[in-house]
């Protein structure tokens, strides 16, 4: 039965490409590129099969595979997908071939290694989204740093070494503390059931979900901080964002696409998959702080974007702003907001990925990204201008395009959230939407409209067929999600509902244990708001 191992196939299929490419010589550039793209395209179709076969009625993990791995530590190779990870896996497998195709001409040096690292990165990313064992998750999470580090460090821009090291060390500090938290949690599970343990050392996520609600609050707080710091750095939540502009600006285009498109989502995915259900009380406790940081991120990211001279930096800072929305939605902790966050993760992956691609295309022609160097480009590059417009509007959140769906749901959810308990956050966040219109449209106007002031811009070629092929799939998804979001939201609805219920239930159990008044969840907000 294919379904029993198709997920592993999706995770590890890029390795087939890796093996094949290992036997090619550096000079066979064309074959290397084709092999890399073919492997990742096939992987995309495999994940599309996964998407197709996924039963949206069942909120549980599907395509589950479990195999004993390290007996002594009770670690298994344990993978599965639910509606939440499904969308992100498809996003990953979609963006990887696009990123590879976009670097067809951009990468000329050490091409073989480049494609190898991209494929290894894909294995790591899909692995992160499908791991159901914390140990396995950690291995993918950390292992993935290595290829990204090389991609920034070898094929990056001027300041690439600094950016690569900064990226690596920032992420490493966070994840190492998470490692201690993981060990702690597994050790706690090995305690007797009287103390809330399971009697065996385990890193199995589903088992840990069971003991999570009874963890004492003091312990939860520390564990939450251990996990959350790691994710906060990855997202990045203000004030841990300083690695991001460096890494984004210095990374090659494809690196930026993957970084913005997928890697940042790992942070928000982590918050959703681990922080909320494992440590709900601590999450509630820290919610005001995180919500404030998220709002600061939204506004700060937007304001900083506005004053950037470099288009790529502008897009990079806009990520800080957009991810702020996602984090706010997650911590609003109701179904609408989390659904919104989830779809917004996908949206951001598509639109910011595409913006980086477009910036990269302009850069390949002019070797500069200074906004003042351009002006009037839409006269010489009408196709690019069209795509740029669509993507910018999608990023701003124009109704009918994908960005709107996510932002609307997040704002709606956080407006009503009984955890946030005040519409202030939503109102402030809404400013972010306005600001995003300002910085993106202003930038668009300065780059695209007006008269051509620089002679170099006169002769620019419009997009080639390959470049159009890079952008068309993204644009298609932009419209698809914008017009008919249900085909995606529907897949994740059940899982999100279960997640919210799980958190609510755990909070309820907790308050009973602590003899505190139960929060008013008699009329579950998820029910009456449907």
């Amino acid at each position: 039965m294919l379904n029993s191992w198709v997920l592993s196939l999706v995770i590890f299929f890029p390795l087939v490409g890796v093996l094949f490419i290992l036997f090619l010589r550096q000079e066979q550039a064309r074959t290397i590129k084709i092999a890399g793209i073919a492997a990742s395209v096939i992987d995309f179709f495999l994940s599309a099969y996964l998407f197709w076969m996924f039963d949206p009625q069942k909120p549980n993990m599907q395509f589950v595979e479990r195999m004993r791995w390290i007996e002594g530590l009770n670690v298994s190779y344990f993978v599965g997908v639910d509606g939440i990870s499904l969308l992100l896996i498809v996003l990953t497998t979609l963006l990887t071939p696009i990123a590879l195709l976009s670097s067809w001409n951009a990468i000329t040096r050490r091409l073989k290694e480049y494609v190898l690292f991209m494929l290894l990165l894909e294995v790591g990313m899909v692995g992160v989204f499908s791991s159901l064992d914390l140990f396995l998750f950690y291995i993918f999470w950390e292992g993935m740093l290595i290829p990204m580090y090389f991609i920034i460090g070898i094929w990056g821009g001027e300041n690439r070494i600094y950016a690569a090291i900064k990226f690596f060390l920032f992420t490493l500090v966070g994840s190492l503390l998470m490692l201690v938290a993981i060990i702690w949690l597994a050790m706690y599970a090995s305690g007797p059931s009287a103390a809330g343990g399971l009697g065996r050392f385990t890193t199995d996520l589903l088992e840990l979900y069971r003991i999570a609600p009874v963890l004492p609050l003091g312990i939860q707080t520390w564990l939450f901080l251990g996990f959350a710091l790691s994710f906060a750095i990855k997202v990045p939540i203000f004030p841990f964002h300083t690695w991001l502009p460096d890494a984004h600006v210095e990374a090659p285009t494809a690196g930026s696409v993957i970084l913005a498109g997928v890697l940042l989502k790992m942070g928000t995915y982590g918050l959703l998959r681990f922080c909320l259900p494992l440590f709900p009380q601590a999450a509630v406790k820290f919610m005001p702080l995180i919500a404030i940081l998220a709002v600061i991120g939204i506004v700060y990211g937007a304001l900083v974007s506005m004053v950037q001279k470099d288009i790529k930096k502008l897009v990079a800072y806009s990520s800080v702003s957009h991810l702020g929305f996602v984090v706010l939605g997650i911590f609003a902790m109701n179904e609408e907001a989390i659904q919104g966050s989830l779809i917004q993760m996908v949206n951001h992956g598509l639109s910011t990925g595409a913006l980086f691609l477009i910036v990269g295309m302009i850069y390949e022609r002019r070797h500069t990204r200074e906004i003042t160097e351009f002006g009037g480009l839409c006269k010489v590059m009408p196709i690019l201008a069209t795509f740029f417009m669509i993507i910018s509007l999608s990023s701003i959140g124009l109704p009918g395009l994908n960005g709107f769906v996510g932002e609307f749901l997040i704002l709606l959810g956080s407006f009503q959230s009984r955890f946030l308990n005040t519409p202030t956050y939503a109102i402030l966040a809404a400013f972010g939407v306005v600001l995003s219109a300002v910085y993106l449209l202003w930038m668009y106007q300065r780059v695209m409209f007006g008269s051509i002031t620089k002679a170099e811009n006169q002769m620019l070629k419009d997009l080639s067929v390959r470049e159009i092929a890079v952008l068309v799939p993204i644009a298609a998804f932009v419209f698809w999600i914008g017009i008919y979001p249900s085909s995606f939201l529907g897949k994740s609805a059940a899982s999100t509902r279960v997640l919210v219920q799980q958190v609510e239930r755990e909070l309820g159990m907790r308050s009973q244990v602590a003899q505190k008044p139960t929060p008013p969840n008699g009329d579950s907000p998820t029910e009456n708001r449907k």
Partner: protein, 474 residues
Amino acid sequence: MDFSSPDLFSTSPILALTALALVVLFLKALLKRGEDVIFGVTLIGIVICISLAVATYGRAGTAFQGMIQVGGFTNFFYLVFMVATGLTVLISRSYLQREEINFGEYYCMLLFAASGMMLIAAAQDLIIIFLGIELMSISLYVLAGFMRKRQKSNESALKYFLLGAFATGFLLYGIALLYGVSGSTRFVVIAENFPALTADPVFWIGVGLVMVGFSFKVAAVPFHMWVPDVYEGAPTTVSAFMSTGGKAAAFSGFVLVFFHAFQVGNSKITDVLAVLSAATMIIGNVIAISQQNLKRMLAYSSIAHAGYMLAGLAAGNGLGQTGIMYYLAAYTFMNVGSFGVLSVLEEQEEKNLTFDDYAGLGYKRPLIAAIMSIFMFSLSGIPPFAGFFGKYYVFAAAVKANLTWLAVVGVLTSAISAYYYLRLVVYMYFRESESAVTTEISRPSLAALVISAIGVIGLGILPSLVLDLTQGLF
């Protein structure tokens, strides 16, 4: 005293290795220009010893009236020592030829040191520990000074000898005091009387002195001062051997004495070891950052790794013991490998040993650079390489023993260590080179590097290979 044949078979790995050392010594005396023969005989002998160690693995117990422990734990360490020795022998030949010190005595001393190590891992009596340490150390003093004509090598040997002799003095004095209060040097006897002995301050002085002796041998702060100078001055292949085999031997003794003779988990011992461990991790890693010479960088890194392993010892539980054993196996592969890479690229007069010399190596020697990167990532503890699982184990042991703070110090210093390990990767891949590397890489050296890399990846993906060996040993 009668020697029964089961005793002889159980201890056959150590007997065989000692015999091998003597054979090599005679070969050297009988043959002129017999280095190639010696090289071959040594390798074959080591393979035989490995087979014997595997064959006697299950015979856990004691031999020679309980003086010597056999099977299980001991044989695990035999295997580690044999791997370290074998890999060192493989990387040595071309290095010795290039440095013009290709004398058969080198292999002979290597084997004597290895038999000392094996004696330590087999000890059930403090006297055996002492014998083993002396045999190992004296051979290593000679090896450190093997480049007679190079000033630094002489300095290294002298420094190592003086400080080492001092440390052994501490150890011996500690043993004497322990004997004085407990009336025996046997682990079993000391362990039986442990609760009563703890009331005696002299006993604690003895424990402290023994701890100092071992801390010196494993290179724990503040007894680490000798390491950078000795590792830098000694022939690179000898540094590889000292930092892996020597460290593994010292740790095997440390574990034996503290787990078998003293009660681990005793709060006094735990606290001291935990502080030693934290200090070692912090100081080793922080000082390593500023090193320009790769041998010194690896020396400080080796200090830092002693700190991680001490965390497992401080934890004092079964997990910690497994952790140390796994860690040492992993460390042997990655560190012999790293020093091995240094040794194949080093040129006469200590050339090609700084970060700058490695600039652009990824383009000039893709295979060597890739292998070195694997070692560096593994040393910094990035999964899926073996170094990560070692750290995971010792930190898990620390958390289990309620030493979470120690695990936090451990992970934070690991993050620091990533900086200097990755710095080498930065030089190899992200910088362009100015000079061309001309060194030829011989087949045995390459084989050793490839075996080490396979070891690091294999133990990383299938840690059970080693973990299963350590199950049920304690």
